[in-house]
Every structure is written in C-alpha cells, then in structure tokens.
C-alpha cells in the first residue's frame, strides 16, 4: 500500500462511518406513526364535497384544526355543531378548520352535512389512506396545528365541548409562526 496507506485508511473509515451511520441511525430513529405534540403532520391531498382539491400546503402559515370524523361514530356526530359554532366565531380571525371524513360514501356524508348545516370544508378520505398515514386508532381524533406547521395538540376520542375547543383555539391563535 506504501504511501497511499494513510489516504486509503481515511477513505475506508469515512465510508464505514457513512454507511454504518446510516444503517444504525435508520434503526435507532425509526419513527412510530403516533403523532404527538411537536411533530409535523403528514401531508394530505384530498377532494372535498364540491370536488375541489385541498392540499396540506393550502394551509401553510395558518392555525389549522383537522377533525377526523364519520357518520358511524356518535361522538363525531355530536361534536359537529360545536365545531361549526367555533368555526363561525373564529374564522375571521384566521382560523382554518377542515373535517376529514373516514372513507365513507359521498352521499352519506353529504346528507349528514346538510342536516347539521356545516360550511367548513369537508374532505373525503379514500380507502382509509389518510387515516392510516395519521396513525388513527380511535374516532374522533382532532389535531390542532399551529401556524408554524407543528402539531400543538392531539385530542383523541370524546365529544369536544365548545369551551374545550375555544380554549385550544385561543392557544393556537396566540402561538406565533
């Protein structure tokens, strides 16, 4: 090896650290799907009841509430009016609220929305793909996302009362991007 000995040793060490580091790091930091405070929510791209496409990036820089719901889930149905009231109250302050339906028939969703009188965007998930991306285990699940793009809070299950929603919205609006 002669005078190339040192460079060769360094080169081999560098390759080992790169490949080995990648391999070990991969297993050390494998992400679990459960989303928690501080995580970035997975991107979604879904169509709404008016056949408009909504992308995650449409809501960049704004406080966003994502409510995963279905007509088959009684607590989801029961908290819809509260969500609608809060949306009416805060939408002029910049709050964005979307409801992602859990892969039900368009017709079923449409008739329920009409009954309750919801006017915030309702997106239709297909083949449970988005709910799997978000690692949902229970319904309803509501994500409160700060303008900075990070999840500020995840509420799993239960019927959200107007006060509970309002408190969280206030926290969202206060946090700066």
């Amino acid at each position: 090896m002669g005078r190339y000995r040192k460079p060769i040793q360094y080169a081999i060490l560098a390759v080992v650290i790169l490949i080995g580091g990648f391999a070990i790091g991969n297993s050390l930091f494998s992400k679990s799907v459960v989303l928690a405070k501080g995580d970035k929510p997975p991107i979604f791209r879904l169509v709404d009841l008016n056949s408009q496409v909504h992308d995650m990036t449409d809501y960049e820089g704004q406080p966003l509430i994502i409510n995963f719901w279905g007509t088959f889930c009684p607590p989801c149905r029961n908290e819809m009016p509260a969500l609608q009231h809060q949306y009416d109250k805060w939408k002029d302050r910049g709050l964005k609220l979307i409801g992602i339906n859990l892969s039900e028939d368009r017709l079923t969703v449409q008739s329920f929305i009409r009954q309750i009188g919801v006017d915030f965007p309702i997106l239709l998930d297909k083949d449970k793909q988005t709910e799997r991306k978000y690692g949902l285990k229970q319904y309803p699940t509501t994500f409160f996302i700060a303008p900075s793009g990070e999840i500020q809070e995840v509420v799993i299950g239960g019927v959200l009362t107007e006060e509970e929603i309002e408190q969280r919205i206030e926290r969202l609006i206060q946090s700066k991007s």
Partner: protein, 569 residues
C-alpha cells in the same frame, strides 16, 4: 530505532518483515539463532503492518479491525444475539400492531414477565435493532480491513519470489529433504523439473536452484470470499432504501379493487376459493376432520394509465396480469410479488337487483342494479326516476332515534329514494328500501315508509323489492362476497445483488478449499542437495508429491521422512 533491514542478499525489506522478501533469510536475530524451529510462513513472512512507536488513532482503529481474533469475537456475539431473536415471535410478524404500547401489551399478554423483559430489551425486534445492525457493520468493516491488510502484502510477496532461497529458509520448512547428489547437477535438475511438470507444477530454474509452484490462485480464495460477503452485506443494507423494499398487506373482499399504496397498481380479488379434502382423500387418522386442500385467490393486477393523481376523477385502469394466487404461487409483475396470506369467512353484500313496483296499479315499473359501495345517485326506469338522497350502509338509530349508520360496512344497507314521474306529486315521493331480507329490516322499512306517508311525503303506492331472491337454492339478483382475502404484497429489488454476493462467496470458498498452494524449492551446493516445500494445507499431499518426484529421479524416500515437524516436536 532504525533497524537495518537490508538483507545479506542485497534486498531492502520494509520495517517489520520477518523473512527476507527475496531470499527468505530470517531477519530477526533470535529467529536466526534458533536453527531448529520451523519458520512462520504466514504471508511468507512479509511485513503486514507498519510498527510505529506512537500509532496514529486511525492506525489504532485499523489494527483493531484487522485482528482476526476480534473478528471471531464479533461473529460469536452476533451469533448469540441472532439466536436470542428466535426465542419469541418478532414484532415484524405481528402485522396488525403498529405502536410500541401495543407491542408491549402483546408480549405481556402472551408471555408474561419474560415477555415484558424480552420486549424492554429490544429483543422483540432483534434484527432491526441498532446493536445488531451495528454488529453487522463492524463485521463488514472487519472484512474489508482484514482483507486489505493481508492481501496486498501477500500479492507482493508471491509476485516477486526469488528462485534461490537462503539455506535456513529451505531447511526450516515443514517439508524438507537433504542429501547427497553424485550425478550431474543440471541433468538431475532437468529430470526433477520434468517430474514436477508432469504433476502440473510451474517450474522456474536458475543456476543450481529450482522453484516449482502449483495452484497459487487458491490463495486468493478467502479474499474473493470476503468480497462476496461484503457485496452480500451491502445488498442486505440496500433493502432499507424505501424504493427497493416493500412488505405490506391488503384485504380484499370478492369483487373489490384496491390501490396498492405507494404504487400505481390496483389489485382485484375476483374470487376466493377454500377447498377441503373429501373423506376419501383423507388419511385414516384424519377422517372426520376438516383439512384444507386449497386456498386460492383469483386476482387481477391493473395499472393506472390516466387520471392517476386526479382526485376529481376515477383512475383509468388497464389490466396487466391475471393469476390464480395460491399459497407459494404468487402473482409476479414488475418486481411486485403478491402472495396469499390469510382469509376471513365473512358475507358482504356487493349489489342487489331490485324491482320498482307500482303496488296500487299492480305493475312492475322496472328493475335496476343497486351497488352497496358508492351507489349511483340516479336511476331511470322508463318514465320514472329514482334519486338516491340518503344511504345508510349499516342502518341503526342514534340516541335521539334518528337514522344513522352503525359502521362503514354494508351489513344492513338502507336506501332512501325520491321517486319522480308523470303521475307523481311535484316534490316527488320518498321511499326507504332495506336490501337485507331480515325481519327487523323489513319492520324498519314498513315503519319508516308509513311515517313518510303520514308526513305527506309518500302515497304508499310504490314498493321496491328483489324478485325471486332464491332460484334453485342459489341466491338470485343478489351479489355478495363470501370471503375476504388477505394478500401479502412484497418487493425486494436487492435480492439479485444478494445472490451475486453469495455466488462470489461460494466461488471463493471453492477456490480456497479444493486446491492447495504448493511450492518446492531446491538448491544444489556442490554435492549436497537441499529441498524445502511449503503448502497452506494438506502437507500430506505435498510430501507425496515430493517423494514421488524424487523417486522418479532415482532418490527413493519414504514420504514420512520428509516431514520436518517431527524433528522439532
């Protein structure tokens, strides 16, 4: 500090050389004095690493990984670690669980305290854990460093061998012969050379000295084996590239088409078949039991050709492959392999073909296909139009006794139609239709239709029902799925490289095991003939070669007497 490494033969050796690279004379004073001791011929005595007073930290790392002892320790620890992963079922086989808490609960439930400890130590995911991968990385590094450290000096040593070796070199080999030679030197050497060539040795001669060498290529065997192992390990690492590896599961009921997540492909389950052996086919001790003969999914693979990412449209699909997937007979296409994994016996409505009747007039208006999944919004039957305004896949009543669906599966589908037509009131008539022919459903149907009538939304003249639901004992006008199949979808683009690595490794092993590198040095000084032989394995065979060649040239020796090791023992 500076050793004089110039040999008496005139060759300048690098620091750390044990035997002169040219003539083979032992360079170390102590080694030179101990005339009876056998020579350490590893790597032909060439300097393997530079000995420095203060090794650089890179040298320290290098020396650590170039040690065979360390490599053996690494392999043993990896072996023990890998065996621990076989004690309990690993997490990667539990396909329904995803969260750490779920796994912890599973191991606690199934295996008690041992399970809790096993999971906490990370042994439930042994082969993906950081320490196991770390060990594999270290073994890989050791492979590279060990090989480089040894193969380069070895290649140098074997390429520039001198023919006439130092007397000590020859007399301290494992196979040695010394005796008197009375006849003509050159003639004898030529005869000896001829004998060796008959045994396929490559013979080189110099004035009064001879070198016969055979099968040098077998020395490279272990290094080629190591190259193969390195390729193998890198290929295994390649599986962690997302585009190169997929292992996911998809459930499909009969007739369902679903997209394979992460690809542009869609898979359809045409039919699932579950067959049992008949009584005659069963062995005597199994008669009376149910033994499965066949699990089969008739599947169709589609590729999306248009509107694939357009959410407002249905994707345009083109069929690319059809295959009857059975256990171990996968549907393969473009690197994708789709295997039969499991099934569930569960009846699921797909569609019905009901008829709209005018009860008051006593006639049938028409019949139509009604899907349970994403049903059509409008149905035209002659002059009448049915508009679907509400759909409950699994009809039930909520706490306020309002209609709702209990789940997303069509276990008890209910359809609310608005019927319009020439002799119907302007706002149309409401009618609710339950597809399931159960008593409770029919009860709901009649109650709700009655309430529509009370409200003035219906005249009660229409009815919807399936004609002749059972014909010859079979379901008629009703389509349903009897089974849901679980398919395992896999892709492993790194496999060809794994095979290549394994093949190279095998070639190296065969090269190293089935041939031996043999060398025979002869020198004649005056009347005395000195012969030394070396091989990396199978010294017995070398002795036989030497005795045979000597015997043909007139010197009869018993192979056992050639063994120099007896003298030292």
């Amino acid at each position: 500090m500076f050793q004089n490494t110039k040999c008496e033969c005139g060759h300048q050796n690098p620091v750390g050389t044990v035997l002169c690279e040219s003539c083979g004379k032992p360079l170390d004073e102590a080694l030179l004095k101990d005339e009876k001791a056998l020579l350490e011929m590893r790597y032909d005595g060439v300097a393997r690493r530079s000995q420095k007073a203060n090794p650089h930290f890179v040298d320290r790392i290098w020396n650590f990984f170039s040690s065979v002892k360390i490599a053996v320790y690494l392999i043993v620890i990896t072996l023990i670690g890998a065996s621990l992963g076989t004690i309990l079922q690993q997490e990667s086989t539990l396909i329904n669980l995803t969260e750490r808490s779920e796994f912890a609960a599973y191991y606690k439930e199934q295996h008690g305290t041992f399970g809790v400890i096993y999971h906490a130590l990370g042994l439930s995911r042994t082969y993906e854990s950081w320490w196991f991968i770390g060990l594999l990385v270290m073994i890989g590094t050791s492979l590279v460093v060990c090989s480089l450290d040894r193969v380069l000096p070895l290649y140098r040593a074997l390429s520039k061998q001198q023919i006439r070796k130092h007397m000590q070199f020859i007399n301290r080999q494992h196979v040695v012969y010394s005796g008197e030679l009375t006849e003509d030197k050159q003639a004898w050497l030529d005869r000896f050379a001829k004998e060796l060539k008959r045994k396929h040795y490559r013979v080189l001669q110099e004035d009064g000295a001879l070198l016969g060498e055979k099968n040098r290529f077998s020395r490279w065997g272990p290094y080629i084996n190591h190259i193969g192992l390195i390729v193998f390990l890198l290929a295994v690492l390649g599986r962690s590239i997302p585009a190169w590896h997929m292992d996911q599961y998809l459930t499909l009921y009969e007739g369902e088409t679903r997209q394979i997540p992460g690809t542009n492909y869609y898979i359809k389950n045409d039919k699932f078949t579950l067959d049992y052996y008949s009584e005659e086919e069963l062995a005597n001790n199994q008669k009376g039991t149910k033994v499965v003969k066949l699990y089969e999914t008739k599947a169709r693979l589609y590729e999306c050709t248009d509107a694939c990412n357009d959410l407002t449209q249905e994707p345009v699909l083109k069929e690319v492959k059809q295959h009857d997937i059975r256990v171990n007979s996968a549907l393969t296409y473009d690197g994708l392999k789709i295997y039969q994994n499991s099934y569930m016996e569960k009846v699921r409505f797909i569609s019905v073909h009901p008829t709209l009747k005018d009860v008051a007039g006593g006639s049938d208006i028409g019949s139509f296909d009604l899907r349970m999944d994403q049903p059509e919004a409008e149905y035209k039957l002659g002059d009448y139009t049915l508009k679907l305004i509400d759909y409950y896949p699994d009809f039930g009543l909520d706490e306020q006794t309002r209609p709702m669906t209990k789940s997303r599966d069509p276990n008890n589908p209910a359809f609310v139609f608005r019927i319009t037509g020439p002799d119907v009131q302007d706002k149309g008539e409401l009618h609710i239709y339950f597809a399931m022919p159960s008593e409770k459903s029919k009860y709901y149907e009649s109650i709700l239709n009655e309430s529509f009538k009370q409200r003035g939304d219906s005249s009660g003249r229409f009815s919807i029902q399936v004609e002749n639901p059972i014909v010859d004992g079979k379901m008629n006008n009703i389509e349903y799925s009897a089974f849901t199949t679980y398919l395992n979808i896999r892709m492993d683009k790194a496999m060809p490289y794994v095979w290549v690595g394994a093949a190279i490794s095998m070639i190296g092993l065969i090269m190293g095991f089935y041939w031996q590198h043999r060398r025979i040095w002869v020198r004649i000084d005056g009347d005395s003939l000195s012969l030394g032989g070396h091989t990396n394995k199978n010294t017995y065979g070398l002795r036989a070669d030497v005795a045979g060649a000597l015997g043909k040239t007139g010197i009869a020796v018993d192979p056992k007497t050639l063994d120099n090791r007896r003298n030292v023992r």
